[in-house]
Subunit: 341 residues, 2 copies
Amino acid sequence: MPSLLISRSKLFSNLQSICNIVNTNIACVVKDNAYGHGIIEISRLLSEFGIKSVFVKNNFEAIKIKDLFQHITILYPTSFDNLGDNIYFSVSNIDCIYSIKPHTGIELKVNTGMNRNGIEVEELQKVLELIKKNNIKLIGVFTHNGYGDLDNDSLSSEFLLQQKKFIDVKQMVIDFVNKNDMPIPRFHSLSSSGAIKCRNISDDLVRIGIAMYGYLGVDCNLNLKPIAELWANKISSRFLKAGSKIGYDGKYVLKSDCIVSSYDIGYGDGLLRLNENHNEMRTKEGYLILPRMSMDSTSIISDEDSVCFMYNADEIARIFGTIPYEVLCRISPFIEREIID
Amino acid sequence: MPSLLISRSKLFSNLQSICNIVNTNIACVVKDNAYGHGIIEISRLLSEFGIKSVFVKNNFEAIKIKDLFQHITILYPTSFDNLGDNIYFSVSNIDCIYSIKPHTGIELKVNTGMNRNGIEVEELQKVLELIKKNNIKLIGVFTHNGYGDLDNDSLSSEFLLQQKKFIDVKQMVIDFVNKNDMPIPRFHSLSSSGAIKCRNISDDLVRIGIAMYGYLGVDCNLNLKPIAELWANKISSRFLKAGSKIGYDGKYVLKSDCIVSSYDIGYGDGLLRLNENHNEMRTKEGYLILPRMSMDSTSIISDEDSVCFMYNADEIARIFGTIPYEVLCRISPFIEREIID
């Protein structure tokens, strides 16, 4: 069966590179099964590295790793029921506040211009009053700057505008908590690319996701290395003559005599489905992957016992007109994860 | 959180329609988490309908449903260790035979022209000898006709050639088992589209996958109904002015003032990632889904508490230049399944 090899040394090297240039705390994003890598496996490694604070997708993910970190924030809670003193809930909407029990720890998400999730800045004062009135523990206040990913080293005016808006949010929150004798919450706004571009960060932490997995989209001389490789094993082999047709509707026609093998991975395992409309795709070893990919198997001009289908999600993303995030996070959770050095 | 609603009555209606026109036994394909629908939920319903025989992807899937059927065949075994008397292993390659213990029940896969998996017809005699010599139980012999899916009612010459080749395979197997006092195995070659187009079937069963989930690609007056709908819930809403930018890099710009809400589903939940290069995509209710989709949330011009993102995988497949199989089988297994009438 296929397996996803996770390199401990590459993950640690990526984390160290990021720590070296970011002048604040690093929290890690392990949501969506750690961007497809395996939330339990990645969380164990992060804990070993010394990471104390992480972000997960929902309550189910938080429960899986609850003993590994001092601080786990659920970005998209499925309920606000207490899951442990180290597990906090993101709140993106004023109506939620009414269903949260006293003493529950929350992080308040504020919209600063991405116009996606979070309360509006104009609602902030009212929400803070409600939090105080209902005796909810305000652990953090954060936003998501959606303008950090542009493919260059500079920071766009939209990025800077969102950052400026968040500075105002911080000031409003600090004024409120000081006036009401509440503890100052932690503040954060930046994910990987913003954190790495924006060298002088005044937030309490940054949320590192894609960069620790080895991708960034912008070149920042960080020497990030993709930490995962996806391997599959041969099902069967055959020698075929030039002109032989392969796969559904015989869409691939062999150009010369060769050995073609099928391997035990397909789009049912989370690969994007290669068809005759895509550009050429090759394994790490350089073997040609033949369209159309099947749900559980893929034909390759190769006779190897095993081949590496994914070693760099950027390459695959380019072929499919998408981003490495999508390539990674859809790797089937049913595929075996193996930690290697 | 999002949920996948599975309609019991639509599944049963699809199965009944197929039973009505196919003149042999129906076995069901529940591999790849039942094409993304949920292998346990679908298998329970199939068992209730009276299905006795199914096909799964690997050993892990077989174990999940081992008490529900008389006959489970693993198409891509991860090992040949005994899992129970009702669980059989597909064998696609001559070398496997040597690692299979005596009395293990197998189904032999033969390549009849798809040139993907299976032993070659030329190897058949040798493999049958080995099976006999090693005292392996030959439960079935099958092939996969990869030419049944063309978008019309007719059967191509390639389809008919594969069928003819399989008739020869059957005769070779029958001659061998008769000569050696072995029981006659079951024979099968057709999946949904081939089974439905080819009205007079001489095989012992057909393998029905995509059609029971409500899709076919060809119109055969069967009135198949997609059995699943994917719903998501509102995270937060905001009123935005025309010209407001939404999501990563502000790629979507609102054409008029309106309420935009974010919903708790994204490409991390298995949706294909909508970006600005795709055609317009709408919910079942007709609300416009705004690119770029995020990993965990999607913005829609809607103020509803919940909306239906997928009601017909064909529609989504068209937008992304793929097939409904890919749309369905990648629905995250972590999404809650709910059986409705």
